[in-house]
């Protein structure tokens, strides 16, 4: 049998890296006609990256993409669309200001000409009727006016709609996350019908029983590689969870298991699901799949402890941002200023900054956490990403705040720097500082004393001490829908 000849899309040995981060490390994936491929993996496994490669949004640095046995040299968004590759993305990918009909026009480039509205209306309504019978969504409504579930329904219907070029491969990235059970059922049934008619689907979901019952074949990814690939009946719920994690089982002893149930309570917050508490000197991890409410909790903790109008005299919490470019560094400022901005209250008298003290403190922290620069007056952007992140850490640690909130701060930081920062965090925790650490990386979560696992905006599980390990965390993040 000749697999490559038949495959709708065959990605061969794709490697993609963003700076120091290897998003894909030689992934080979083939999708045959009439097949639903389930794709699972924890955060940063490379699912979204392989999706981008298949839909033409990203060209792999190494490796090739072939379709129908023909190797495609210049594969891009348009080439993918011509071959009938469609995608439903995790985040909203419609224009909220346009009506459903107008969005259909945008999605199908060759729908133009006089009377396109009528044609677009017919196409999208037909597709909605097929996928979600009895949906009750008027196609002249603006997408911004729809509920989240309705938007997702429209996106799914949009991907399956046919305007000249029939969809052959539909990629569904977490399509059921905001659909209720009956709508999800309708969609999964449609996926099966579509596949039975010879179409192909790549199905990504964190709800494992959906994957298990809908897919023909399941591909498990981890750290940018495919680690397991079997027909769906070769997996069960437990086996999938195992396959996603167990590669690095032996490293459980990394964390010094300090038990501090006796330390005084410093912060508590009634979040959705389990309530959140923090003790002095604890390192608390927020785990679970990315975007399931961890950042929201950090922001809520921060908002609850700070005032909008006046800076606090003695702030209890400080924040280390995850997205450096967006809300971390002041790009035009020097390293020193970037460092001292959070503690200016302590460094000034009668509204004037004490330049001498600022410099002393800066030099002190430069030595403590080894910011690699000849001069703190250099621009912050002269530093590497990892060192910029260190400056942000120093900014937070130099304040008197007792609690440090961290929003996945180590994204895109090299391993050496990470180890240094971990050391600093442990030292500071030993001195009684509390860290609330949202991380998408399993290695970091394992460093924590206690971990809250999030799912769909709620704290679903709390793991402490020796229970903090990869298997438990993955099991909690993928725990099936209450049946």
């Amino acid at each position: 049998m000749n697999g490559i000849q038949k495959a709708v899309i065959a990605v061969d040995g794709a490697k993609v890296s963003f700076g120091a981060v290897k998003a894909l490390d030689g992934v080979t994936l083939r999708v045959m006609p009439g097949e639903c491929v389930g794709l699972v993996g924890h955060n940063g496994a490379g699912k979204s990256t392989i999706v981008s490669v298949i839909n033409g949004g990203l060209t792999p640095q190494v490796g090739s993409v072939a379709s129908d046995g023909e190797r495609l040299e210049r594969y891009g968004i348009n080439a993918a669309r011509v071959r009938g590759v469609r995608c439903v993305f995790q985040e909203l990918s419609l224009c909220p200001n346009l009506s459903i009909v107008e969005n259909t026009r945008i999605m199908h480039r060759d729908l133009g000409g006089f009377g396109w509205r009528t044609r677009a209306e017919k196409i999208i309504e037909q597709s909605l009727d097929t996928v979600f019978p009895g949906h009750n969504i008027g196609s002249s409504r603006a997408v911004g006016d729809l509920s989240i579930a309705e938007r997702q329904m429209v996106e799914i219907a949009m991907a399956f709609s046919d305007a000249g070029i029939a969809p052959r491969l539909v990629i569904l990235d977490e399509p059921t996350s905001s659909l209720d059970a009956s709508l999800a059922r309708q969609m999964l049934d449609h996926v099966r019908r579509f596949v039975a008619a010879g179409g192909s689907v790549i199905f990504i979901s964190h709800i494992l029983h959906e994957i298990l019952e809908t897919s023909d074949r399941i591909v498990v990814m981890k750290d940018g590689r495919v680690v397991a690939e079997r027909p769906a009946h070769g997996f069960d719920h437990h086996g999938l969870v195992e396959a996603m994690g167990t590669v690095a089982k032996e490293e459980t002893g990394q964390r010094s298991s300090r038990e501090q149930p006796t330390a005084p309570l410093i912060l508590s917050h009634q979040a959705a699901g389990l309530s959140f508490t923090a003790h002095e000197g604890e390192i608390i991890g927020l785990a679970g799949l990315a975007g399931h409410g961890q950042t929201e909790l950090l922001l809520a903790l921060h908002a609850a402890q700070s005032s909008n109008w006046r800076p606090e005299r003695d702030p209890l919490v400080t924040f280390v941002a995850g997205d450096r470019r967006l809300n971390g560094v002041f790009e035009l400022w020097s390293i020193l200023r970037n460092f001292s901005i959070a503690s200016l209250g302590d460094l000034s008298r009668r509204g004037l900054i004490l330049a001498q003290e600022e410099e002393t403190k800066g030099a002190d922290w430069k030595r403590r956490i080894e910011i690699r620069t000849p001069d703190l007056d250099n621009r912050i952007l002269s530093l590497s990403g990892g060192n910029q992140q260190k400056v942000l850490f120093a900014r937070a640690l130099a304040t008197r705040a007792r609690i440090v909130l961290m929003d996945d701060p180590m994204r895109g930081v090299d391993v050496g720097t990470k180890q240094e920062v971990y050391k600093i965090i442990r030292e500071e925790a030993a001195r009684g500082r509390t860290f609330v650490w949202y991380s998408t990386e399993m290695d970091e979560v394992r460093l924590c004393d206690r971990v809250y696992v999030f799912r769909e905006g709620r704290i679903m599980d709390e793991l402490a001490a020796d229970a903090v390990n990869e298997t438990n965390i993955i099991a909690a993040s993928f725990s099936g829908v209450p049946a």
């Binding site: 839909n55 968004i77 348009n78 993305f89 911004g144």
Partner: protein, 315 residues
């Protein structure tokens, strides 16, 4: 299910309501304005403003802002009063070149990822300089056909009203009904999604700017038709008036939410506000301030309704 206005209809209701209120107030103060001639006098200066507002609206639909609108319209007015009258071929070439420049600006802004306000602010000095070169002192004369067009007396309704309706209808067709219009608004709403569907955003942005340039050219020509001569500073107010008109008409600075009909109504409202204040015998010194106050009141009203709408949705 209870009847609910769509958000687009809501968007249009407020400018329409404010225009009606203002018009009623003017008629009450000065009943003689309620005539063919009176209406034309009240509104004829609104025609070029409406065209400039549509131009501004198209730029705002792609999340940009054009700060050169006033000087550009002035420049076009100067070209119309000189070249377009004396050597029509050269005049038309200059106008086409100006539109092409606008389209080029859109491309440059997108490719180099520049802030549109900086680029257009810079261009405003270029247009202003060119206008002064053309007409160092007020002068020139409008071409006869333009003059005829702006003073024509159609049956039933005066020129200003007919022109406003035509402008609104054409702009609505182009921006709200055509594929290009959908694409332009789509860029304002979610550029990634447009890109993922395989469109060229550069081309669409260039087209949006080109279209805006076209409407701004029409604004300049219409203005000269009314004033019969031009001057390098004739339309400086248009930059802010056009922005205010778009916002007043239910448009928003970002998100591709615009309404051409609303924009024309907004331009009419702004013009009428000036007349209204004159009828109230408010001294010229206070008029600009009072005009600002009217603007603030209408916008505050809109924000209030937006908030109500959001609360309703939140429930």
């Amino acid at each position: 299910m209870t009847f609910r206005l769509s958000s687009d209809a809501m968007r249009l209701a407020i400018p329409a309501l404010s225009l009606t209120l203002l018009l009623a107030a003017v008629f009450w103060l000065q009943p003689r304005a309620m005539s063919y001639v009176g209406l034309n006098l009240l509104f004829n200066l609104a025609v070029p403003i409406a065209l400039a507002t549509i131009a501004q609206m198209i730029v705002m639909a792609v999340n940009d802002l054009d700060l050169s609108m006033g000087t550009f319209v002035s420049f076009i007015a100067c070209v119309t009063a000189t070249f377009l009258r004396d050597t029509p071929v050269t005049g038309v070439l200059i106008l086409v070149g100006a539109i092409a420049t606008y389209a080029g600006l859109g491309v440059v802004i997108h490719l180099r990822n520049l802030p549109s306000i900086v680029v257009t602010l810079g261009m405003s000095f270029v247009w202003g300089g060119l206008a002064v070169l053309l007409l160092p002192a007020p002068g020139g004369q409008s071409p006869d056909w333009v003059r005829w067009l702006m003073t024509v007396k159609p049956p039933l309704a005066p020129m200003a009203i007919v022109a406003s309706i035509i402008i609104a209808a054409v702009a609505h067709l182009v921006v709200m009904r055509s594929s290009l219009g959908v694409l332009i608004r789509g860029i304002g709403g979610n550029p990634r999604s447009v890109e993922r569907a395989g469109w060229s955003i550069v081309a669409a942005r260039g087209a949006a700017y080109g279209l805006a340039g076209f409407f701004a050219v029409l604004a300049g020509i219409a203005l000269v038709g009314l004033t019969t001569s031009a001057d390098a500073n004739i339309a400086l107010r248009y930059t802010l008036l056009s922005i205010a008109g778009v916002i007043l008409g239910g448009g928003e600075f970002i998100g591709g939410r615009v309404s051409p009909i609303g924009a024309v109504i907004g331009a009419l409202t702004l013009t009428l506000a000036g007349s209204f204040l004159s009828f109230l015998r408010i001294s010229a010194d206070w008029q600009i301030g009072a005009q600002g106050a009217i603007l603030i009141i209408v916008l505050a009203f809109r924000l209030m309704l937006n908030r109500l709408e959001k609360q309703e949705k939140g429930r």
